[in-house]
């Protein structure tokens, strides 16, 4: 069952509007705009049970329902294409290979939330992707899917690309909004949530690329048939990004609920050099690592949460027995210390301390207490920051220490 890679996996698919339409593209837009009311679309998406693919897994239809009724302010849709989570490269594939799939999702969603202006906030480094999207927007506008009076319906929509300037934090939706407004990319204090007060203080929905790319399917096939894919509470298919010590790294699309073991050994071709598995990060660098005996987990939102990790962005990073977890955690800690925005104390000060302590452990200068200090910091940061970046930096470090404490102790003795 392929929804997102259906076109991309076809060998000579170019991603042009002709190709996309040949494959049945833009039928969902006509159906949505001509035959459905915005409320019906929201209802359909609620029925599909789809949860946000950016990492937090919030039900998409519910989010759309938060837009205040009868607001006299303009409503904005923002597509979050600031894909920056280490180990994650799924949105990029959609953007570069099948941009019209994303655009169709954006158009339908804009119509559903009654927005006439959509912004595509794309990671600054995605130069090719931005160019690709720009020409796709042009093609779609020429074909009458974007612009004034779309398909004769009287509905107007403008889609604009905004390129980021290189900050991981701008993937956090409120930091993204600040950045979009031309300000420093710092998360906002919530509430108010973007649906009530987002871009330019107007109601705003921020959705991930992959989420939006699922919308055309839901419209074409109905929410119920989408809900049949996957497992309870985790419906639909998901893009998994396999990387690390794995024989066949890459992007895979499977219904949610596939077991991590089969993902690694069956589809990913197993561990490189037939080495033993040491650990797997299941959802991008900010999610707690799983030990080798935890991989029989079903890859869905609830099952991973139940064992203390999370699906996140489904960036699956596989590490074999040759890996020293101190190295990995230093790498991760460096990343979060570098990307902390600096707004609130625990993160600004805590992340560098984690980095420095791990660094001195690695250099053999660690003290016995350091391991506990490290754990202390993770608790001081978790839940005490303005945005989820605190957890994103604290959770993985805590998991590395708890699950691979012997690696740390080795350096100290």
């Amino acid at each position: 069952m392929k929804i997102l890679l259906k076109n991309i996996e076809e060998p000579d698919y170019t991603g042009s509007i002709q190709d996309y339409r040949r494959k049945g593209g833009y039928t969902a837009v006509s159906k949505a705009i001509k035959e459905m009311t915005p409320e019906e679309i929201v209802e359909e998406v609620k029925k599909s049970g789809i949860r946000g693919r950016g990492g937090a897994g919030f039900p998409t239809g519910v989010k759309w329902g938060f837009i205040p009724k009868n607001t006299d302010k303009p409503i904005y849709l923002i597509c979050n294409a600031d894909e920056g989570e280490p180990g994650t490269f799924k949105d990029r594939i959609i953007i570069e290979r099948d941009p019209h799939l994303l655009l169709e999702g954006i158009i339908i969603t804009s119509y559903a939330i009654k927005s006439h202006q959509a912004y595509l906030y794309i990671r600054g480094e995605f130069v090719y992707g931005a160019n690709r999207l720009n020409s796709a927007i042009r093609e779609a506008a020429e074909a009458g899917y974007i612009g004034k009076d779309i398909l004769g319906s009287g509905y107007n929509l403008d889609v604009q690309i905004h390129r980021g300037a290189g900050g991981y934090i701008c993937g956090e939706e409120t930091a993204l909004l600040e950045s979009l407004e031309g300000k420093r990319g710092w998360p906002r204090i919530k509430p108010p949530f973007p649906a009530a007060e987002g871009a330019f203080r107007c109601p705003t929905i921020v959705n991930n690329v992959e989420t939006l790319a699922n919308i055309p399917f839901i419209i074409n096939n109905g929410g119920e048939s989408y809900a049949e894919i996957g497992v309870k509470n985790s419906t639909g298919t998901k893009l998994f990004c396999l990387s690390g010590h794995i024989n066949k790294p890459g992007i895979y699309e499977f219904p949610l609920g596939i077991s991590l073991r089969s993902l690694i050994y069956e589809h990913g071709g197993g561990i490189k050099n037939n080495n033993k598995l040491k650990g797997v990060i299941p959802g991008g660098s900010s999610m707690p690592v799983l030990a080798s005996d935890e991989i029989d987990v079903s890859m869905d939102f609830d099952s991973l949460a139940n064992i203390g990790s999370a699906l996140g962005s489904a960036g699956v990073i596989v590490m074999d027995e040759t890996v020293d977890m101190v190295d990995v955690s230093l790498n991760v800690a460096k990343f979060y210390a570098h990307e902390s925005c600096g707004q609130c104390t625990p993160c600004r000060e805590g992340m560098p301390w984690m980095r420095d302590i791990i660094s001195r452990i690695k250099d053999g200068k660690g003290k016995k207490e350091d391991i506990d200090t490290l754990l202390d910091i993770t608790y001081n940061v978790e839940g005490k920051t303005i945005c989820p970046f605190g957890e994103a930096g604290a959770w993985p470090i805590r998991a590395f220490v708890n699950k691979f404490r012997e690696d740390f102790e080795k350096h100290i003795n």
Binding site: W186, E339, G342, T345, D376, N380, K384
Partner: protein, 843 residues
């Protein structure tokens, strides 16, 4: 019903409280005297949520919400001091301290150190190792005490940032910064100046102007609002850095321009150690400019203050007692005929000083020869300026205006509180239009800006007058050789805007005041205001100009602003004073000082007329600082500064405001009125037996309406009432002075306006030397290129009448073909603007 609409019931630490809806938990707690620690929060600023010290537990909410950002909700149950919250706070505080050079906070010897300064580890004995200038006033220090932090689990990390001391008035040591962002928020939200921002990110985050520019280059107004809100020692005033905590405060009125801001003087041991804005809703709303915020202490504390009188005997200075000075003055003045007497008194003096000065001249000497140097400052435009003051509206009208026309106004350093109001006005949708031949700080917020070439201002304003004429007139006669098409279009747009605006307001700054055409410019402004029913607020340079007219310290004006030629008025005064007041006969004024006939006695009170000593037999110089050596005064008497006396000022809006004595004057210095009263009494003149300013004030209010009670002055804004005009010689310059082949540039001149009692402020306040640059000539880059002049070059400026050398500043905003220079008061180049040629020195 009202309860449901306006309040909610919450529970904080088992106290049931009814609080206003919409408050944050932190504010609600503060209002009910429940302490929640907080560092980044500030009562005037939007919540930031950065320091995380104010985390609390709220039933039903996950994690630890911050009290400063979470709004109260009906039925909320909040715990502010659970064991877990307290432990987390200590941990977070430790994280803050780990990057704060904080040894002073947790040093085990700190108590002894404070008392004996026994530990000399980091600095000299002056500071001990408690080297932070905010010691004792640091909010971080308080918090460390309150939370009982004794040690830090992390090694102290010193960021090793360079301590920034290059800019005037305050030092910045960002090693002490805790990144609470208060300075940035006050700069952005309250001042709307946006000079400061966060730079870099994460642990590298620092505060400063974008792109690492200096504060001066970044447009900083040096208002000091950031320094006031800084919770640590990161931002500290240079002057009072080590003064510590003030012992008391006194509310008074700033005398450094006509806005009349209310300031709080900080006092320690009979010395002014600083000044802060008062939360005064009528005038400055808790804001100040660089002068009021940073200059007061330096101005009144300079070591060169006069402490004892002295006389000049055979060319040498002889220090004498005040009593002898009074005797000597009385003797000279008793022997002086009215026409041989002249008195200059400063419009920086209090009403009480001014009133006594003119009464002294008119009764004790029997002369109307009393004047101020405001006459020379405003020159031929003085009457026109007074006309505008007769129409003055309160500054608060700016709040209601939809369009504000700013004429010759700059609000960066002077009048910066007005600038704040203008930026607020723009935020709420008002439009700003500026007319100024020079580069100024309002261009950034102006909807329309006109930068007329010098000499074209009258034309420009007159065409606006014509375009707004209520009766239809023939089409505008405005013609401009260069920009007719687009300019006339712009002018029509602006005329239309002004006509359609509700309650437009005109603010008049000081750019045009020294121009030859200032009377015509100001008259056109007046006409334009009448055409569009606008309110005008001229913003005088002299803080008590209004008072000087009302007190009658001009030959032409009696107290109340009445004309001295009015016989009835004089008779009335004779009755009120029970004294002989001469009928008006005076040819003398400040303009004739140097050119007129030799006087027997000249008496300068707070005035330092330009150039050297004017012709006189006996010169009394009464001021807070000694005169320039070239004056050779016969007698020098020390005055009290405004911080050392009681009294009243009247600001440009006509508000009567109190001046309050904060400290004693140095040495034998006395308020000017007191010295004058003593001399008068010594001369045997009646009517000068005042023992305090209140009594004088009461006499003033018996003569002039609207003064009210001394302790509760009516601070109502009133346009000036004065009859008659100043006698200003009609020396209208010839209009033919245009740039030509020989003298291709048009040089316009402004006069340094930041003075106190005749002295430029920069004489006594070091930091101002960097901000108020006199003798620097602004040149357009293209003109500079053609003439081979670059920045800081010495430029020889030649006209048909003079040759001067000034230092060059290349300024792209200076219109091509024009030059500008600011000169000290009193220095003149004749016609203004003036055709000149320029060349680089040594070329």
């Amino acid at each position: 019903m009202s309860k449901e609409n306006k309040t909610v019931t919450i529970n904080i630490d088992d106290q049931i409280l009814e609080v206003e809806k919409g408050l944050t938990i932190l504010r609600a707690a503060e209002q009910n005297n429940i302490y929640i620690p907080a560092l980044c929060s500030h009562k005037n600023l939007t919540p930031f949520g950065g320091c995380r010290m104010c985390i609390v537990e709220v039933e039903g909410m996950s994690g630890f919400p911050t009290a400063c950002t979470t709004p109260v909700e009906e039925g909320m149950v909040i715990k502010t001091h659970t064991a877990q919250v307290q432990a987390s706070r200590v941990e977070i505080l430790q994280l803050i301290l780990s990057e704060h050079t904080s040894s002073c906070l947790i040093c085990e010897e700190k108590d002894e150190c404070k008392e004996y300064m026994g530990t000399i580890r980091k600095a000299g004995v002056t500071t001990g190792c408690r080297y932070c200038p905010k010691d004792g006033q640091c909010e971080l220090q308080d918090l460390v005490e309150k939370l009982g932090v004794k040690e830090i689990n992390y090694p102290i990390y010193y960021r090793n940032l360079r301590v920034e001391k290059d800019d005037p008035f305050y030092d910045r040591d960002y090693n002490l910064c805790i990144l609470c962002g208060r300075c940035i928020r006050v700069c952005q939200e309250i001042r709307i100046a946006n000079t400061l921002a966060f730079k870099q990110r994460g642990p590298k985050t620092v505060v400063g102007p974008a792109y690492d520019r200096t504060h001066i280059d970044a447009g900083c107004e040096f208002c000091g609002a950031c320094v006031s809100v800084c919770p640590t020692g990161a931002l500290s005033e240079k002057v009072s850095k080590w003064e510590g905590k003030a012992e008391r405060e006194e509310l008074t009125t700033c005398p450094l321009c006509g806005v009349g801001c209310q300031i709080r003087l900080l006092i320690k041991k009979n010395e002014i150690i600083g000044s802060l804005p008062a939360e005064d809703p009528l005038v400055n709303n808790g804001q100040l400019c660089v002068k009021g915020r940073f200059c007061v202490a330096e101005l009144v504390n300079n070591y060169q203050r006069l402490r004892k009188p002295y006389k000049t005997q055979n060319g040498t200075k002889v220090e004498i007692f005040l009593e002898e000075a009074v005797e000597l003055s009385a003797e000279k003045l008793s022997a002086c005929s009215p026409e041989q007497f002249g008195m200059l008194v400063s419009p920086n003096c209090s009403n009480e000083d001014l009133y006594i000065a003119q009464k002294f001249a008119r009764v004790a000497v029997g002369s109307h020869n009393i004047d101020t140097t405001a006459r020379t400052f405003y020159g031929t435009g003085f009457n026109a300026f007074l006309n505008l003051m007769r129409m003055a509206v309160p500054l608060s009208d700016v709040l209601k205006a939809s369009i504000i026309l700013c004429i010759g106004l700059d609000t960066r350093f002077g009048r910066s509180v007005v600038g704040v109001e203008l930026r607020k006005a723009v935020e709420r949708g008002a439009k700003i239009i500026t007319i100024n031949p020079r580069h100024h700080n309002l261009t950034m917020i102006a909807e329309k800006e006109f930068q007329p070439v010098p000499k074209m201002e009258v034309n420009l304003l007159n065409s606006l007058v014509m375009l707004t004429e209520k009766k239809k007139t023939p089409t505008s006669q405005f013609r401009s050789k260069r920009t007719t098409g687009s300019l006339s279009g712009e002018l029509s747009t602006v005329a239309k805007m002004l006509k359609e605006a509700s309650a437009p307001v005109f603010l008049v700054g000081s750019e045009f005041l020294q121009y030859d055409e200032s009377p015509q410019i100001l008259e056109a402004v007046e006409k334009l205001a009448r055409n569009v029913s606008a309110g005008i607020l001229p913003l005088p340079v002299q803080n008590n100009l209004f008072g000087s007219v009302l007190m009658g310290v001009y030959p032409e004006f009696l107290p109340g602003g009445f004309s001295s030629t009015g016989k009835e008025r004089i008779d009335n005064l004779r009755k009120r004073w029970s004294a002989d007041v001469p009928n008006f006969s005076s040819q003398w004024n400040a303009e004739t000082l140097s050119s007129g006939s030799r006087m027997k006695v000249l008496y300068f009170i707070g005035e330092v007329p330009p150039n050297s000593r004017p012709p006189s037999d006996f010169l009394i110089f009464q001021n807070i600082y000694p005169p320039d050596i070239s004056y050779e005064p016969d007698l020098v008497i020390p005055s009290a500064a405004f911080t050392e006396m009681d009294g009243t000022f009247i600001n440009g809006e006509g508000r009567i405001q109190r001046v309050r004595k904060a400290v004693d004057p140095p040495g034998e210095a006395l308020p000017d009125w007191e010295i004058l009263c003593r001399i008068a009494q010594k001369m045997g003149i009646k009517g000068f037996d005042f023992s305090n300013a209140r009594e004088i004030y009461e006499e003033i209010s018996s003569l002039i309406k609207g003064f009210g009670d001394f302790d509760n002055t009516k601070r109502k804004a009133n346009p000036m009432i004065c009859e008659g005009e100043l006698n200003i010689p009609e020396t209208r310059p010839s209009r033919t002075k245009k740039a030509d082949k020989k003298f291709p540039f048009l040089l316009s001149v402004s006069v340094g306006e930041h003075t106190y009692r005749g002295f430029p402020l920069s004489t006594w306040v070091e930091g101002l030397k960097k901000l108020f640059t006199e003798g620097i000539i602004d040149i357009n880059p293209e003109d500079a290129r053609k003439t081979g002049i670059s920045r800081s070059d010495e430029v020889i400026v030649t006209s048909a009448y003079f040759e001067k050398i000034w230092s060059a500043n290349i300024l792209s905003e200076q219109t091509q073909g024009t030059l500008h220079v600011t000169l000290p008061q009193g220095e003149s180049i004749g016609n203004n603007p003036h055709p000149v040629k320029i060349r680089k020195k040594d070329v």
